[in-house]
Symmetry: C2
Subunit: 209 residues, 2 copies
């Protein structure tokens, strides 16, 4: 009672008709949030870049913040999928760490636009939405931590503080989205390979082939 009806609840998924329009809005918002930041982007900019009137945007998203929320939600869902797939492919902690680190890093380089928004623009979310995204991130940290703990228990890993080390490994991948530039000297795959190597050195402490 007395609750605002606006901007609450799950990401919307109404009929098919406006699907394409919504995708264009998301793309436009993504691009602008990434380069000019959430607060630096106007709703007019977004609508114009998506090729429609400003009011049309409000047909699909009730607030500008909802665009950011949708982007953040979808992005975190996607990363979670990437990471869980990578974990599933590995049959030992060492393999899992290698797979996760590679995919996580490659994703952050390849999708650096999206990654920048979902990592650095969370301050634009409402407290409720921010908290919802935070649980995604806690799950991610727990997944990484679990791999390290398993590796330690099986005897291969030497990791004195799995909690902080998990944070550090994720840090490496996340921060790629900050410094990565298209047309730089490395491809996302180059970086993924190097970072996988770094992760294994951190966990195993021995030079890897």
């Amino acid at each position: 009672m007395g609750q605002k009806t606006k901007s609450a609840g799950r990401p919307r998924r109404s009929n098919v008709r406006g699907e394409n329009t919504r995708a264009r809005l998301i793309d436009a918002a993504l691009e602008s949030f990434s380069t000019r930041s959430f607060h630096g982007t106007g709703t007019r900019d977004i609508a114009e870049a998506a090729g429609m009137s400003q009011a049309a945007m409000y047909v699909h998203y009730p607030t500008k913040e909802d665009l950011l929320y949708q982007i953040s939600y979808d992005g975190h869902l996607e990363i979670e999928g990437v990471v869980l797939d990578a974990v599933a492919r590995g049959s030992s902690p060492k393999e899992q760490l290698a797979e996760v680190m590679y995919d996580f890093t490659v994703w952050h380089a390849r999708s650096h636009t999206r990654a920048r928004v979902i990592n650095y623009e969370l301050g634009g979310l409402t407290p409720e939405h921010r908290e919802e995204i935070a649980t995604f991130r806690r799950r991610l940290e727990a997944t990484m931590r679990r791999i390290l703990v398993a590796g330690v228990e099986e005897g291969g890993f030497l990791v004195p503080d799995p909690s902080m080390t998990a944070l550090a490994l994720l840090s490496l991948g996340i921060d790629v989205s900050r410094w990565y530039r298209d047309n730089g000297r490395w491809t996302p795959e180059d970086i993924g390979e190097r970072y996988r190597y770094l992760a294994l050195r951190i966990a195993l402490g021995l030079p890897q082939k």
Copy 2:
């Protein structure tokens, strides 16, 4: 000719009279930029937090962007000092890497407010100012790279790609400012020690004492 006189040139350092006032403005801007982002902060917010009228701010800084520039400039100068001091304290690449990584990380945790602004709000700078800050950052990367290259040449380090590894090591420290929270479970020194250890494992590949 035709150049805008405003917002150009080095950080200002006029007479002593307003020194304290300027410091208050910088502190207020720092706090607000850090939590609400550059574009999310109003000049009225800054002035009020600094305990003066909005117009008084313009006596000391010609634009809001100049506040950000001053913060960024001073911050990068400070980090550069921290890093160069650490390098000077080490008498071998291994010692230098250890010292730099510790101090760099501790600084980013301890000064996470400043660090967040100077790492994540650079998009608010004018292109000229942004470029000026970029040279600070290139120098920093070069310093780290030089340590790694020296360590490889002296035979102790196993680092296949010093450029990317230098970036990764700096990444680790920088990203601490993103996730660090006061009253968290670790002190800045805890994180510094752990990260020094990570750096040595990355460079040397062997478990360190």
